[in-house]
Amino acid sequence: MSNEHHEHKLPFWQKYLFSTDHKTIGIQYGVTSLSFLLFGFFLMMLMRWQLAYPEQAIPFIGKFFGEDRAPGGVMVPTFYNELGAMHGTIMVFLGVVPMGVGCFGNLIVPLQLGAPDMAFPKLNMASYWVFLVGGLTMLVSFFLPGGAANSGWTAYPPLANFATIGQTVWILGMVFLITSSLLGAVNFLTTIIQLRAEGLTFMRLPFFVWGQLITSLLLLLAFPPLEAAGILQLMDRVAHTSFFLPSGLLVSGQPLEVSGGGSVLLWQHLFWFLGHPEVYVILLPAIGIVTEILANNIRKPLWGYKTMVYSVIFLGFMSFIVWAHHMYLTGMGTAISAFFQATTMIISIPSVIVLTCLAISLWGGSIRFNIPMLFTLAFIPMFAMGGLTGLPLGLAAPDVYLHDTYYVIGHFHYVVAPGVIFALFAGIYYWFPKFTGRKMNDLLGHLHFWPTLVLMNCIFFPMLLQGLAGVSRRLYDGGATYAHAQGVLHMNEFVSISAWILGLAQIPFILNLLWSMVKPKNVDSDNPWQSTTLEWQTPTPPGHGNFKELPVVYRGPYEYSVPGASEDFTPQNIKDIK
């Protein structure tokens, strides 16, 4: 049921390559960022070898890394640092965020708004291509002398000031990525505010759109300070200024030949001013996805929609004044610490409210346990685990002990891996039929879901324990040379093996995705999940311009099981209940 007669006859390159259609761009973002996620995952699997078996040659592939990185196949410390920095950077800026915003935002937002496209289609295209250039810049930097950036994804000075040329290219890559996200943010905000269908008031927006709205606002306002910081670091590295170099700094016992007068803390403030909102940029699209799927599969109205909306608005504002909880150990002073720990405790409230609303919504629903719903249901406790383990880090006193340990790694990975990544998987399984006319295979879905859920916990729970024992993060040998790490050292092997099996557990997903694209169409409804929101009221797949005629909205987003209705769902564009 496609609306072919709406299709313009476009040449191939315009239809699939330099397309301005939000759906094509969304898919471009999706393919690109899934590839980057996989690549970031490979880097991590290499790191896990070094942590489990320090000083041992990497089997099979070790000899391909060259004498600089792995003489005799044994990883050198700078190579580990390179892998770590690039794993973080790639996962965050090239994987999760472009997947949540660039892919799902692009695909779904205009459809849920009842809009023919994004407000600025050409900017949209530009945003993707600038993103791709930024990503490729990051990849190319692996081939530079000295390799890619190796000062962590946070690029703290003074270390980053003296790092190899890869760090300069990292900054350039970031400038591209920031530009891309700026174009995207302007576009999403304008689209959501201006292109809502007739009758689609703000309080009738699907929660996913709310998530994207706040996300874009954060991207718009939080990224520029990092760009400023990047420019300053670029000046430090290229023009030898001292923005981040204090007076009297000694390097290897020698005083530096620089003017001095800079501040290392300045970088941290600018970085975390982005860094904390970035957490919500990662999280909110995911929360949006699981909310849609949950509402659809409980077959009753969401509990507390308005509360959730006000919570994310509040959360958006608060996320600008919590950043220095990443800096308790820098000696910025107890008064400042006290302020930021208060705001941090406050910001945890709206997140808890949102999760609580989702959990309460389950109560009394006739839940359908399909694959998207399984991932969604797993998201809730996994994300809760990440959130709760974050509380001690938000308080200055326990953070003195926990800061920069594996506890932190365990904490935020609970949020981003079994949390956000699960939501992204859920979204793929859920919306796949809309754009292809095919449902993904259930059996393969189960083979993907269950091992992934178990293994994620096998990986990240031990990290929490190691961190509680005091093992530092970013250790090249996983703690082997530290006395206090000996008791928990044996976990490294278990974690690493789990991580590699986790890699294998993604094979059913990859096969499912590829096979489902080519297998015969097996969905003949435009609305196979019997959903209420507008993206399902289009032809499958939606043609250029999306709707046969622009819809008019008469009701809220989640009118399931309305008394008196003949079916258990009432789409937003239905005027009278039959």
Binding site: L232, S242, G261
Partner: protein, 197 residues
């Protein structure tokens, strides 16, 4: 259905057309960019043991002259837009042309200032003050250059739109005008901070 609504006319409940909202959002992000850099200036200056008086290193009369140039260009920018509103395309061309020339004049003067500094071997790495000076004015100059490119496009090939979609073209000029005033405003902050304080 593939015509995007509100590209020209305003949406009733929001009171703006798409690009107008877009440019305001973009400028909000620019405020954050320059805001972060101005904060950097404040933080480094507070922490510094000694900070040179701007006038002792920079040429205040030239800076004042350049400030006047930019303010004038903002005024001519407004006139070029109102000319379109009054359907006077020829006058629009004149005023936009003057705006571009003034912007170029600003850059020429600025590059002479830079040149004089380099000639006396004053480089960004010499002191925090000079580092800030070159970074901030350099970034501002990049914004001017970007503006010149866009303005020149609308003065030349882009102005053809006037014949086919006059309203839309007028909107576009209003939008770049907003950007241009912003760039002007940034300088109005930069000038006293760097030259006078």
């Amino acid at each position: 259905m593939d015509v995007i609504p509100y590209t020209v006319e305003e949406r009733k409940d929001t009171g703006v057309f798409n690009a107008k909202l877009g440019i305001w959002l973009f400028l909000a992000s620019e405020v954050m960019l320059f805001g972060a850099l101005f904060s950097t200036y404040v933080i480094l200056r507070i922490g510094a043991e000694h900070w040179p008086h701007g006038a002792s290193l920079l040429n205040v009369p030239i800076g004042t002259f350049n400030t006047a140039v930019l303010i004038t260009s903002s005024v001519t920018m407004v006139f070029s837009w109102t000319s379109l509103k009054e359907n006077n395309f020829a006058r629009f061309k004149n005023f936009l042309g003057i705006t571009i020339l003034l912007a170029l004049l600003f850059l020429v003067v600025k590059s002479f200032e830079y040149g004089a500094k380099f000639e006396h071997h004053h480089f960004p790495k010499e002191s925090t003050f000079l580092a800030i000076y070159f970074t901030l004015t350099g970034l501002h100059a990049l914004h001017i250059i970007g503006g010149i490119v866009v303005l020149t496009y609308f003065w030349g090939p882009g102005s053809k739109m006037w014949e086919t979609q006059a309203d839309r073209f007028t909107n576009r000029i209003e939008i770049v005008g907003l950007y241009w005033h912003f760039v002007d405003l940034v300088w109005i902050f930069l000038f006293p901070i760097l030259y006078l304080l």
